[in-house]
Amino acid sequence: MPELEGALRELGRELVFPETPALAPAVAARLRTPRPARRRLLLVALAALALALLAALAVPSARTAILELFRLDGATIRRVDRLPPVPPRAALRLGELVSLAQARQRVPFPVLVPQELGEPDGVYLLGEVVSLLYGDEDDVRLLLTEFRGSSTPEFVKKAAAGATSIQRVVVGGEPGYWIEGAPHSVLFLDAGGRLREDRPRLAGNVLLLQRRGLLVRLEADVSRDEAVRIAGSLR
């Protein structure tokens, strides 16, 4: 009966809807990288790095060394069987795009660059966390993250999936870990005490190493030997 349908349409036009809120700017603001406080950024970055290690922490042989490396003795490890779905294209949120020289001026440690690869295509600064990106943001080939590893997250809660494999490696005489396999995720409490989650930036494998008081994470879809070779050329 078209009359009823017409009456319903007419009724709809007579409805008073609440005013549409300004969603576009609010949504855009949420999607753009917020600039939280430095301290929290460091904690977030530490947790991001630590997440790569979580599965490894469940492996007894690796645990002691990793706890030592990261001084996470107080951490509570929690395994989850099912990880939350990983968005296919999470924003990288590496921070501010700077030049290599600027980064070197602004962080209190020497920024290491793999001589094997030459100068990165992008250098980003987030607090005192430096990211060296090879490729571009839409097509990342390799990502190096560097920051001082002497800070200890006050407390970290983690979730790790079981299937990741981890191998100890030695890079330039210093300890490192090669992590591959299942994606890992971490739940942690930020400086404000809120439960947050972080995930690896890239789908590739991870080489994590300590170099002169620095923690360096190398993410790329490369073989272990290649990653070790690249990391070995860090100067």
Binding site: L11, T20, P21, V27, A28, P87, R89, A90
Partner: protein, 186 residues
């Protein structure tokens, strides 16, 4: 104002590459209809705002799964509608839908359609009441299809149900409305 931006495909492609400005334009184009869907499904303005905002953010994160060339609006509206739907289950409160009073009648509307003429203001209020009294699943398709004038396909997509299901719910809802309006009239 609101509507499909002519460069929509280009905006979607840019947003898929991480261009937030492009995505902001898409949100602007669809925020009104998205908010109204969320309002009708969640039942109140604050849940609707939250649902629409979260929906838009989730849609951005899911853009990689959007197949280029397929219609963007229903894809987007479905994500928002789903958010609104989830909020309704937990909230359970519904603001009353409000009708314009005669004084607020839209200007330039001097010549009412024959359908409008059929229904006095009183009749509309009654019809609204009857619609609100429908079972939820029938009410949802009726309000999206007629109050917001979504197409049948969009109504089904927004509610995440097959087109056939939307069609039969629509028919059932209309039938129930008709019967109840007749009962009121009698």
């Amino acid at each position: 104002m609101e509507g499909r931006p002519p460069e929509e495909e280009d905006l979607v492609a840019r947003a898929q590459r991480g261009d937030v400005d492009a995505y902001e334009q898409l949100v602007r184009a669809y925020q009104r209809i998205a908010f109204r869907i969320a309002f009708l499904l969640s039942g109140n303005a604050s849940d609707a705002e939250e649902a629409a905002q979260d929906g838009f953010v989730k849609a951005y994160c899911a853009l990689a799964r959007f197949r280029r060339g397929s219609p963007f609006r229903p894809w987007l509206l479905q994500i928002v509608a789903n958010e609104a739907h989830n909020r309704r289950r937990s909230a359970g409160r519904r603001e009353n839908l409000v009708l314009r009073t005669a004084a607020e009648s839209r200007p330039g509307d001097a010549a009412p359609s024959p359908e409008a003429a059929l229904l006095a203001a009183e009749g509309r209020a009654t019809l609204l009441e009857v619609v609100n009294g429908l079972r939820e699943e029938e009410r949802d398709v009726i309000v999206l299809r007629f109050f917001l004038e979504l197409s049948e396909a969009e109504t089904a997509a927004a509610l995440g149900i097959p087109a056939g299901t939307a069609k039969s719910r629509l028919a059932r809802g209309l039938e129930r409305l008709r019967a109840q309006m007749e009962a009121v009239d009698a």
